[in-house]
Symmetry: C2
Amino acid sequence: MPRDAAVAPRRSHAERGTAREGTRERLVRAGIVAALERGWAASGVDTVLRSAGVPKGSFYHYFDSKDAFGEAVIDGYQAYFLHRLERCFGAGAQGRPIAVQLDDFLAVSAEGMARHGWRRGCLVGALGQELAGLHEGFRERLLASLTQWEQVLEAALLAARARGELPPATDCRRAARSFWAAWEGAVLRARLARDGAPLREVIEDFRRLVAID
Amino acid sequence: MPRDAAVAPRRSHAERGTAREGTRERLVRAGIVAALERGWAASGVDTVLRSAGVPKGSFYHYFDSKDAFGEAVIDGYQAYFLHRLERCFGAGAQGRPIAVQLDDFLAVSAEGMARHGWRRGCLVGALGQELAGLHEGFRERLLASLTQWEQVLEAALLAARARGELPPATDCRRAARSFWAAWEGAVLRARLARDGAPLREVIEDFRRLVAID
């Protein structure tokens, strides 16, 4: 018998770790898509498993319950969205005026929604509406996500204020809260209308509200 | 056997009509509450029937399907909400400045949300997030609801502009769209934070955006 034949390839501990992470990540990604398109109650574990191409037995290997999976889905979306915010508004973006940063965020967001036929909005908006009154753990996690987005934008606004792009008296924390409230509503409006105009309008409104330029 | 004993009271056709309407209205009201608190997928017909105190057989007497019931729920919420908007922003409210009309709307909305422990938001926001990508009939109906709210507010803003409370160049249709986008986001934020501050802030922002006063 030749060497290595009929022998399962041996993998290092690190490689096995990566393989496990791969399945878990596929499940989380499928959960995010399902929650974005159908909400949480209508996102059955079976459907998520099917779309992730993962056998049923695996689910409870990774998650104790659908609730635990939900928490991983919220965390996964948050990691993805913070990455986008970091690109648009993070330290590396501060060579660009805040008006350009906002336009970048608008462009990438509108492009993403249009690509999926406006069927996918924002996970925090979607699950927040569905679960805020039902599930205390989800509510706290979603609020924490939104608060982090506010902090990222607040930092970008403070930097813009320091560069003289905003009036010196601008309350940047308050402005960041206003932005995300208006943005979430605009995402809803864009999904209902299947049109990007509400997203463009909310950016215009914000520039006017905060007297950018 | 005395007259009228052991005889079911005879009701006129009109009375029977009213009784039927009563049951249907109870079902719709229970459906609105369920959808506000739990979203649509998690609102089972059985739960709605129980909370309305209506026997199971009755449901399909009034509605062909859960979808038909959903349409009645959206229409019922719209009638209720338009009544509120009419009180706050309608022709009868035009003796009051638009700033006062907005404060009235804020007060009644925040009071309603607080009374239910911030567990109930806005049906258009909740079902819009959950169903916009799934159910074309619901999406169109929800968008039509929102468009009607925009029209009511636009008319109030036009009246305020005519009274000199807004700059003459104000685009009242655009401003009304901005208001509802920001309001829907603020309702989400208020539900997540279980606090009325986001609602107050969005009214302040709008007054500033539209340069009211």
